[in-house]
């Protein structure tokens, strides 16, 4: 599914610029060791962590987009790092489970 479709249909706020890439799956985790081994390339990562090492880990595994649940927002320098690394960051006001349900309803698997 294209990032644009996910953004429009689940009401995401973009925190960085983004290209309309294809998202191939979803991974949900707040543990960095779990993300580095489990998150898939080109997928959407749904998380509550907003620090720099999270961006580093997401970049290392080629995550396609990061969505912060519960209106979490990284600090300006973290956004800048993501922008440089070419990782699209988004925020949703809803909690992790509610956002996961939206993705599932949309047909993301």
């Amino acid at each position: 599914m294209k990032i644009s479709e996910v953004v429009n249909k689940t009401g995401l706020e973009a925190l960085t610029s983004w290209d309309d890439e294809e998202l191939t799956g979803v991974y949900i985790s707040d543990m960095v060791s779990d993300i580095i081994t489990g998150a898939t390339g080109c997928g959407l990562l749904l998380t509550l962590q907003t620090h720099k090492s999270l961006i580093a880990a997401a970049n290392l595994v080629d995550v396609g987009a990061v969505v912060f649940a519960r209106d979490k927002r990284p600090a300006a320098d973290v956004v800048e790092l993501a922008e440089k690394a070419g990782i699209a960051l988004f925020s949703t006001p809803v909690d992790t489970w509610s956002y996961a349900a939206k993705l599932f309803e949309l047909g993301m698997r």
Partner: protein, 145 residues
């Protein structure tokens, strides 16, 4: 003897969460440019990142040495720091001395060293209490761990 194609070393600063992950990111960029098999890159990235984060979280300063040959990738992370008193315990899944603050950041899963070992074709860790720790990994370029 395998031919050495490339070698690099990077300094890691203990407790510097601002720059944590930079060395691993550079190693990944190098491997990607060289069009190394994505599965090999992924394993190398897990090893480099977990070892780098351990230096950031537990040690004072460390050096990552990365060597690519025509047969394999070697990653060695040597640090100056407190060392690990009980290596068997440290290698157990889920065992961690991470602080509450680190846990809130999503660290302290106790999976770093086990994941480094799992993703290596050859693995060793040596440590001296009060001096430091050396983690060495070798990843073969041709296939399964």
């Amino acid at each position: 003897m395998p031919d050495e194609l490339l070698s690099r070393s990077f300094t890691i600063h203990g407790r510097d969460f601002e720059r944590a992950g930079e060395a691993s990111t550079e190693i990944k960029s190098l491997l990607k440019e060289l069009e190394i098999d994505p599965a090999v890159i992924r394993r190398t990235v897990v090893i480099a990142f977990e070892a780098e984060m351990n230096v950031v979280m537990y040690a004072d300063e460390g050096t990552v040495t990365f060597v690519l040959t025509d047969e394999d990738i070697g990653v060695e992370i040597a640090d100056r720091g407190p060392g690990i008193p009980d290596l068997d315990l440290a290698l157990q899944e889920g065992w961690s001395t991470a602080t509450d603050e680190m846990r809130e950041m999503g660290f302290g899963f106790g999976m770093g060293l086990p994941n480094i070992r799992r993703n290596s074709d050859e693995f060793s860790v040596k440590s001296r209490v009060g001096e430091g720790t050396v983690v060495s990994s070798r990843i073969s370029l041709d296939g399964a761990p």
